[in-house]
């Protein structure tokens, strides 16, 4: 199995520090580490999905379905994923060379009862056709965007690349602002008043930083030869 990127420079702790820097009210007593980590995990998944829509290749990982698992009617459990992009068939004889596998919606599975095809149900890959249809196949390779688990430590590496750090921090800061705005200055003495932040300012920063990153992502796809321009923003 391959992973999308090697380890980057920045860690979750760097993003967290950058997000907390945006307001003196974003201290750990108001946004504890566990809360921040769960917010940041959701932000990262949001960024990955958005980038994947603009550059489907960016976060692709692969996993192999071995010969022994190529049994129609026996689902094969895939790693946790955000989306399955496509599947490639490799043959035992190396001829023909690998070919795209028919990737169907589950509702069309009966269209391929006599031929090779795959469909996904939940986290499982299912094969159509008969066992004999798969006799010449050595293995399948599934291309997918992996589901990124929650951060468990400030030293965890980011899945998004380093140039997404500003977008990540701005998005996280916006979530912090929503949490802190209206929070009492002192929970033990509400008479001291409440914190008044303007979340719209943080939203604008998030929008600008995120769009900047996604535009870089899109420009990256434009450098590649493509047969269609459907993914261009």
């Amino acid at each position: 199995m391959t992973v999308p990127f090697p380890t980057h420079t920045f860690t979750y702790g760097d993003v967290l520090a950058a997000a907390r820097d945006t307001s003196p009210y974003f201290d750990p007593t108001r946004i504890p580490g566990g809360t921040a980590a769960r917010m940041a995990s959701a932000v990262q998944r949001e960024l990955i999905l958005g980038a994947s829509r603009r550059d489907p290749d960016m976060f692709i990982a692969t996993t192999a379905v071995p010969t022994a698992s190529l049994v129609p009617g026996t689902p094969f459990q895939l790693p946790q994923f955000l989306m399955v992009r496509d599947i490639e068939t490799f043959f035992a004889s190396n001829t023909p060379l690998s070919e795209p596998t028919r990737y169907l919606p589950e509702s069309r599975r009966f269209d391929m009862q006599q031929d090779r095809g795959v469909y996904v149900t939940g986290q499982y890959l299912n094969l159509t056709g008969q066992l004999s249809d798969w006799a010449t196949v050595d293995h399948l390779v599934v291309y997918y965007v992996p589901f990124v688990p929650d951060f468990t430590s400030e030293t965890d590496a980011l899945t998004v690349p380093d140039d997404a750090k500003d977008a990540f921090a701005a998005s996280l800061a916006f979530r912090f602002a929503l949490r802190v705005n209206g929070m009492p200055f002192d929970g033990m003495d509400p008479g001291k008043g409440v914190i008044q932040l303007d979340p719209s300012g943080f939203a604008a920063e998030k929008q600008a930083a995120t769009m900047n990153w996604w535009q870089r992502v899109t420009q990256g796809t434009r450098q590649r030869r493509v047969s269609n321009r459907n993914t261009l923003v």
Partner: protein, 222 residues
């Protein structure tokens, strides 16, 4: 620090002729208890306002694979307030409430009385763990049954705070004394304490800080 309790008492007596009666200060156990309480109050205020009386110490946990604990009641100097606890790797532990342990990422601890308790097995491999505790000091415990020659922990240049408090106590204790004397002593103590805290706080110069925290923080000479 060489000021003893006897000196504090004598200076308090000197603040009013009415304090000369031996009955006012004859109970040495009471005098020691009062001075000890005043000293603890000063260190408590100082802990909130300044890092001056902060220190670090090494402590070792119990020996177990998980749910280890560290008892801190016997540490010297005594702890007024824990500020930071570090694993041997330098990773800081986070204090969580017993009921809301999900508030922080691992490694975590919660506190019952003066003992730290591990959440799960987050302090590392099985066995005793030696940690570094950074904390605000409390003054050394004075023996109320002991001698008046015991010295206080407060630096000598600040011990006038103790005799001001003690003089105020004597003024209140003495039935029929003019109440304005106790009020004046209280006001003088408040002003003097503020000066002392300022002095402790600005020793290190201005401190850079990122946050405005709801918890009272050392001021950092703002």
């Amino acid at each position: 620090m060489s000021t003893d309790i006897s000196t504090v008492i004598q200076r308090a007596i000197g603040r009013s002729i009415s304090n000369n009666d031996p009955g006012m200060t004859g109970n040495s156990s009471l005098m020691i208890a009062e001075v000890a309480a005043y000293e603890r109050d000063i260190f408590r205020v100082a802990a909130r306002e300044s890092r001056f009386f902060y220190t670090e110490a090494s402590v070792t946990s119990t020996d177990a694979p998980s749910a280890r604990s560290i008892a801190l009641s016997a540490i010297t100097p005594p702890i007024e307030r824990i500020v930071r606890v570090l694993l041997p790797t330098g990773v800081p532990l986070k204090q969580v409430d017993y009921e809301d342990q999900g508030a922080e990422l691992a490694p975590r601890y919660y506190v019952f009385r003066t003992t730290l308790y591990e959440v799960g097995s987050e302090w590392g491999a099985s066995g005793p763990v030696t940690m570094t505790v950074g904390y605000a000091e409390s003054p050394a415990v004075l023996d109320v049954a002991g001698s008046l020659s015991q010295t206080v922990t407060l630096p000598d240049e600040y011990t006038d705070l103790l005799d001001l408090r003690l003089a105020q106590y004597l003024a209140v204790k003495d039935t029929g004394r003019d109440p304005t004397e106790a009020q004046a002593l209280g006001a003088e103590y408040g002003a003097r304490l503020s000066d002392v805290i300022d002095g402790l706080d600005h020793f290190g110069g201005s401190v850079r800080r990122r946050f405005i925290s709801p918890a009272e923080q050392p001021r950092g000479s703002e």
